[in-house]
Symmetry: C2
Subunit: 450 residues, 2 copies
């Protein structure tokens, strides 16, 4: 017998909010497909060894085992994937012979992380990823394309009332080249320190750079000046050069970031911003890195992050460099429909028309009318029990169903718009609701200023 069993960090939406989520996902899919990305779906589990980072299995991982497994199960322990990049890299290596490169795919699925649940952070959450993976070498222009496709996707979401975003970009080569040009060698320590900039502030980042990366006061200052640079045009390049550091890798990274910012600026000024403090935690990025702020909701953290990885996927003979970005659908949803909801569906059911049943003997005819309307693409439900006029209206009203249909053999059919009260004769082979009433709409909640 089922019992309530809420689990913190495992969000589930009510039906009206699931309509919002489905609409968000549909707009994302449509944008990705318009840009040539193929839909992909991978299994939920991977061998535990594949989920290791830096050779260590993170404690966030959820392990999966058969309750009464046989010995073959324990030889190959599994875990739930914590992102969609690792399963995708494995899929590419496994199916390389059947794929055409560069291979562009999107993937919208849940992922699992055993983190402490908090605002916008869940233990099970849906991500929407796009990636481009090539064989042997990946052209740099894909590092420009990937964030711009996400910018398009967020643009499509604005129609629903989702706030605008700012995609923050940087380049690992730029950071690494700059650090090397300064004479620093422990690049991972430099990146780890910079990655804490927003959390702990410049002063403590300086201390970390000293203690962890062995940076002198002058080196700290140069890195902190670099980290403070931010611009939505390629003007930032002059600021970097003015710091007087030179290194071939720095030039490469700078050129790549300039190309991205220029291209974005041509298409939609302000949507992509170079922010040189962005480092990203994951170790596998090798070029561009991206984070995304939902404007007015910066405290939520990044809603869409990613970067270029050159050596995530390899079968020993060939490598498959890629670039990707991942949108946190559940994190976004937590602001769209949470406590201070921004969006709402106009109804909690797909149904546009309720066929009234005033006598159980009339159910077969009501069912027949419902089928006539459905055949013409109108979502219809039939009253679950015969009841009086008022009860039928209340049934529709409670669910937000706009129309109630009255079947009557003698005087003909009538349909009532329960919002206006207007009731008209109708022919089940001809009547159609206005286009905006056929399916539930997602609308901005009155009073929301986003």
């Amino acid at each position: 017998m089922a019992q309530a069993a809420r689990l913190s960090g495992f969000p589930e939406w009510l039906p009206a909010d699931r309509i919002v989520e489905e609409r968000v996902i549909d707009l994302l899919k449509h944008t990705f497909e318009l840009n040539g990305y193929a839909a992909l779906h991978t299994r939920a589990v991977e061998p535990l060894s594949a989920l290791a980072k830096d050779g260590e299995i993170d404690k966030e991982i959820f392990a999966v085992s058969r309750l009464h497994g046989d010995p073959s199960d324990s030889r190959n322990p599994m875990g739930l994937h914590f992102d969609l990049t690792v399963p995708f890299a494995r899929y590419v290596v496994e199916n390389a012979g059947h794929l055409s490169f560069p291979f562009k795919r999107y993937q919208i699925q849940p992922v699992w992380r055993g983190e402490r649940p908090q605002d916008g952070r869940f233990r099970e959450f849906i991500q929407a990823d796009i990636d481009v993976v090539a064989e042997d070498s990946l052209a740099d222009h894909f590092e420009v394309e990937v964030p711009l496709v996400m910018a398009q996707a967020f643009d499509a979401l604005r129609e629903l009332g989702v706030p605008p975003v700012r995609i923050l970009a940087n380049n690992r080569k730029l950071l690494e080249g700059f650090a090397r040009g300064l004479g620093l060698d422990d690049i991972p320590a430099v990146l780890r320190s910079l990655d804490k900039y927003d959390k702990i502030g410049p002063e403590r980042v300086g201390e970390l750079l000293a203690s962890d990366a062995g940076a002198s006061a002058a080196q700290q200052q140069a890195l902190l000046k670099l980290a403070a640079i931010e611009a939505d045009t390629s003007s930032f390049a002059d600021e970097v050069l003015a710091l007087g550091v030179t290194d071939p890798l720095l030039d490469e990274g700078l050129e790549s970031l300039v190309r991205l910012v220029d291209a974005a600026h041509r298409i939609q000024p302000g949507v992509v911003v170079a922010q040189l403090k962005i480092a990203r935690g994951l170790d596998y990025y090798t070029g561009s890195v991206y984070e995304t702020q939902l404007l007015g909701h910066e405290s939520l953290g990044s809603v869409c992050s990613g970067g270029r990885y050159d050596s995530l996927a390899s079968n020993g003979k060939k490598t498959y460099p890629g670039v990707g970005i991942s949108l946190g659908v559940s994190r976004l949803m937590s602001r769209l429909v949470g406590k201070n909801r921004m969006l709402a569906a106009t109804r909690s059911v797909p149904t546009a028309v309720l066929i009234a049943v005033t006598d159980e003997r009339g159910r077969a005819e009501a069912d027949a009318v419902a089928m006539q309307l459905r055949r013409r693409g109108i979502p219809v439900d039939v009253a679950p029990a015969a009841s009086k006029f008022g009860k039928q209206i209340r049934f529709a009203d409670r669910r937000g169903i706009p129309y109630v249909w009255f079947v009557d053999g003698e005087t003909g059919h009538e349909v009532k718009d329960i919002r206006s009260g207007e009731q008209v004769s109708a022919d089940p082979e001809l009547w159609t609701p206005p286009a905006e009433d056929v399916w539930p709409r997602v609308e901005r909640v009155a009073g929301d200023e986003a």
Copy 2:
């Protein structure tokens, strides 16, 4: 570094086959929504205790635990859901105050079972469920509605080339009443024996009825005669009555099954067949039970099963009786795209048009043309590298992209249908491919006789 790691029983499709799966799922969703079923999504995990059957945790269950969990985790052990009915029942109890009853929902998600993988049986597979749940009492007509909605869904799938189905129906009350009318008391043993009819044949079912349910030779014979009855009209009722067994529960079950078969016959003769040997393994069914054969693929087992359950969901004060049916999307897919594939997508990418790039300096203009076409709803990709004419055509051809677009500042734009070789001038603000070329189509494979 990603490595190949195939896991038996965890199917993953290549991009072209994922297009088939997405099309199948879209048609299911559309049918369910036309019938007023709301989309729902539940988390993948449940408390292990909620996944117990008859108080016992099945060995098929995959347990989930944090690799380095804290003590609070072990107090509340979890597992991956093995179906979508159990999570749905829990969701209903948990959210009853926010739902309007009768509540109709559909749910299309993966489920996990640690069974031995075999033809059409996987360890991770996608199910598409519809259920109607009421508060306190559920009207019988929903037992008619649910299989008929699935019949509509399979009808929609036939457009793709999916073979037709036969939905087999029976009623637990009919079986229980008949057994009681015969003087038998151990109903679970009777049901378990009958459930093996197709697997072991009538003779051995008779032996089981004797050994497990204590049935005499006459009782065995009566039950085996009942089990052999099959009809797609209500004529079967006379055959049941002719067996001379009487019981009030038998009458109830018979009436319910007659109503279903009559209603189905009116709408689409032959699609629902009363087959009185159908018992279903799950213990929670209390009324109608359903199985579904894919015609010509009967050996695959049931592709769509379910039934009525009166006491799956309860919060102690109220019960939520329901009826549902679950379509095995992955099982169906295993026949649609497997070894003897029936269906194929016309291409492996969403892309309808490839914009050729013959010189990297022309990439910005190619990107601009791509955006113009996308804004008008045409899926477009841009050549990943500048190359000669032939290479661009081969790139498109390998993916099944039908059109290649040539940007030329001087003589204007031209677009080539690479199937016919026809090349015409085109304006990126006006040109549109024929409707059937905009998105990939799913077509029956030549030579398939289904």
